[in-house]
């Protein structure tokens, strides 16, 4: 089973949930897809066993062959190419490496040159496999790195994916083709607003989902009321507990310091399993 952990709003507790869930279960693989700022490793402290660079193919125009027809510009979906005065201008920072320009070039005047945009590190901690991607500083294209990290999904294991925050391309790249999406939120107006945006995305993807309310005894009841109206199960509530804040601030894991939470995260997994089995 592949469970992704997402949220509209940042800082609600995605990483806390992903790390603690992964370390509460057997035979898990935790994949940190928040490649712009991965932080699961701070808590898991895995032994890294392999490193691999991620590159995307960037077009290189051969001026001797190019007649400036502009076909590459027409087919580029990302506005990464302009053709003016019969000269091709490439904007590598906007290129997704899709290869359309070189494929459609009638004169075969475009070669592709690999540009390194990130790195993948894999290792383990106890019985948990760990993988994360890291986008290089100054790069803007996180989806190609996320797609590479997701190749480490092993269907024989319980895979937990920590997604980036928000509702844009990186999030969708991280959560699509997963079996279940946990949306972590907090009972505040910001939490509710961004949760409703995230629910919109999840519904479009057609993936079953449930909500975890973090710092649940703060704020108001509007998130719970919203979930009831929208028929979205509230799977777990994590209280605003000073001990949890201290554990987090020290870079430690809740289920290791407060073992009673291990059962709570196992219950969470059972609820998710039940929801998925009911849908089948």
């Amino acid at each position: 089973m592949i469970i992704s952990v997402a949220s509209g709003k940042g800082g609600t507790g995605k990483t806390t949930v992903a790390v603690n869930l992964a370390l509460s279960l057997a035979n898990t693989r935790l994949i940190d897809c928040d490649v712009e700022e991965p932080n699961c490793h701070i808590f898991v402290k895995p032994d890294i066993e392999s490193r691999r660079k991620v590159s995307i193919p960037i077009p290189q125009v051969n001026d001797d062959k190019c007649d400036g027809c502009g076909r590459c510009q027409e087919v580029c979906a990302y506005n990464a190419i302009a053709v003016v005065n019969k000269k091709v201008i490439v904007f590598p920072e906007l290129c997704h490496g899709c290869g359309s320009c070189s494929y459609f070039c009638p004169l075969k005047a475009i070669d592709e040159k690999n540009k390194e945009i990130g790195i993948i590190e894999a290792g383990r901690k106890g019985g948990t496999d760990f993988v994360h991607g890291r986008l290089n500083i100054g790069m803007m294209m996180s989806p190609p790195v996320i797609r590479e990290v997701k190749k480490y999904i092993d269907k024989k294991k319980t895979v937990i994916i920590d997604a980036p925050p928000g509702t844009s391309c990186p999030v969708i790249t991280a959560i699509k083709d997963t079996d279940f999406i946990i949306l972590v939120t907090e009972p505040t107006p910001f939490g509710l607003n961004d949760l409703s945006l995230a629910i919109g995305v999840v519904k479009k993807l057609g993936i079953p989902s449930g909500v975890i309310i973090n710092r649940s005894d703060l704020g108001n009841k509007k998130v719970e009321n919203y979930c009831a109206e929208e028929n979205i199960p509230v799977l777990m509530k994590i209280p605003f507990d000073r001990r949890i804040a201290e554990i987090y601030s020290g870079g430690d894991v809740i289920v290791e310091v407060l073992p009673e939470y291990k059962n709570k995260f196992r219950d969470l997994y059972k609820k998710i399993e039940a929801i998925i089995n009911n849908k089948k």
Binding site: Y78, N79, A80, I81, A82, V84, N85, I89, F91, L94
Partner: protein
Amino acid sequence: MKIAISSGGDTLRSEVDQRFARCPYYIIYDTDSGDFEAVNNESSTAGGGAGIQAAQKISDKGIDAVISGNIGPNAFRVLSAASIKIYSGASGIIKDVIDKFKKGEYKETGSPDVNSHFGMGRGN
């Protein structure tokens, strides 16, 4: 000479839009004939690369000069490569801007004056 002015609306009474690439319209004005037309800017809602796409379209239309509030680095690069003259820092009613331009009150801009994503409301 054909000039394109980034505009908030589709008439000569509209205001100059401060964003070159994400403005809703361009007023294309012919300084020789005095004719003008308003064209929709399809790049205004582009996910990314709006400056590049907008500059490409302006170049394809055979425009000689561009007037706007601000021009970002990518649009600047494409417009420059297309040998299109760039006048930024304009504001106010389109008609007044055209008059000022004809009197030679605007100076050509030598470099982009905002960072990428200015037109997405993220500031400079």
